[in-house]
């Protein structure tokens, strides 16, 4: 399936884009999706190790299943406030 992943902060700057598209296996787990992003964008690989993923604006676990049409984002360690 085709997914789109929002990127923010350092991830956005390292990839030079606010959103990337990726072709992934149906029912892919978050941890495998992260690995696939790392492979496609090596400049982000170190940051991805320290980043979370959100699905539909909630934090997911490594074992969460990514579904088609999910709103997906890579969430580097946050620093608001």
């Amino acid at each position: 399936m085709k997914i789109r992943i929002k990127l923010f902060a350092a991830a956005r700057e390292l990839s030079d884009t606010g959103e990337i598209g990726l072709e992934v296996a149906d029912g892919i787990l978050v941890k495998d999706m992260k690995q696939q992003i790392s492979n496609a964008y090596p400049s982000m690989s170190e940051l991805i190790l320290r980043s979370a993923v959100s699905l539909n604006r909630e934090f997911a676990t490594d074992q969460s299943v990514v579904q088609e049409n999910d709103e997906i984002a890579l969430i580097p360690p946050v620093s608001g406030g």
Partner: protein, 153 residues
């Protein structure tokens, strides 16, 4: 009152928004751009956010505050974009019948916001370098997240 803005925060309006005749106490927290971190000098900060998720996460934190403490009102405003020295990036206000609840709830909310809400800060150092501030911890799903997975209310 929960919102994210690119404009200067009117902290007195944030405080005003939690006023209540039922409240004997209000606590307002304001986070501002600090000039020095140890020896390093900051000239400005720039904040970026994942706005849809940030607003939802802040609302969840406010809901948690309402359920954990006996409070009247709770408001959170976060500024994004460039925030100059001495300017405010965040204002949190809580009101309650008695003061302990407001102090505890406001401190807890700011702590959690810094862990759970997708907002990022970029330092602009005086030496011309810039740096996204990415604390060592990875944002972790909370039990609330797990319960409401794919919820997104």
């Amino acid at each position: 009152m929960i919102f994210i803005t690119t404009k200067a925060i009117d902290t007195s309006k944030v405080l005003e928004s939690v006023k209540s005749k039922q409240a004997g106490a209000s606590v307002l927290f304001v986070g501002t751009t600090r000039q020095f971190t140890g020896e390093k000098e900051t000239v400005q900060l720039e904040y970026e956010c994942y706005e849809a998720m940030a607003v939802e996460k802040i609302q969840q934190l406010v809901d948690s505050v309402q359920s954990k403490w006996n409070i009247e009102h709770c408001s959170v405003v976060h500024r994004i974009g460039v925030v100059g020295l001495g300017e405010s990036s965040i204002a949190v206000a809580v009101s309650s019948g008695h003061r302990q609840e407001s102090f505890e709830a406001a401190a807890w909310l700011v702590d959690e916001l810094k862990i759970q809400v997708p907002i990022w800060k970029k330092e602009f150092w005086a030496d011309g370098k810039t740096e996204w501030v990415h604390p060592s911890g990875t944002p972790k799903p909370t039990s609330q997240d797990l319960n409401s997975a794919h919820g997104g209310s």
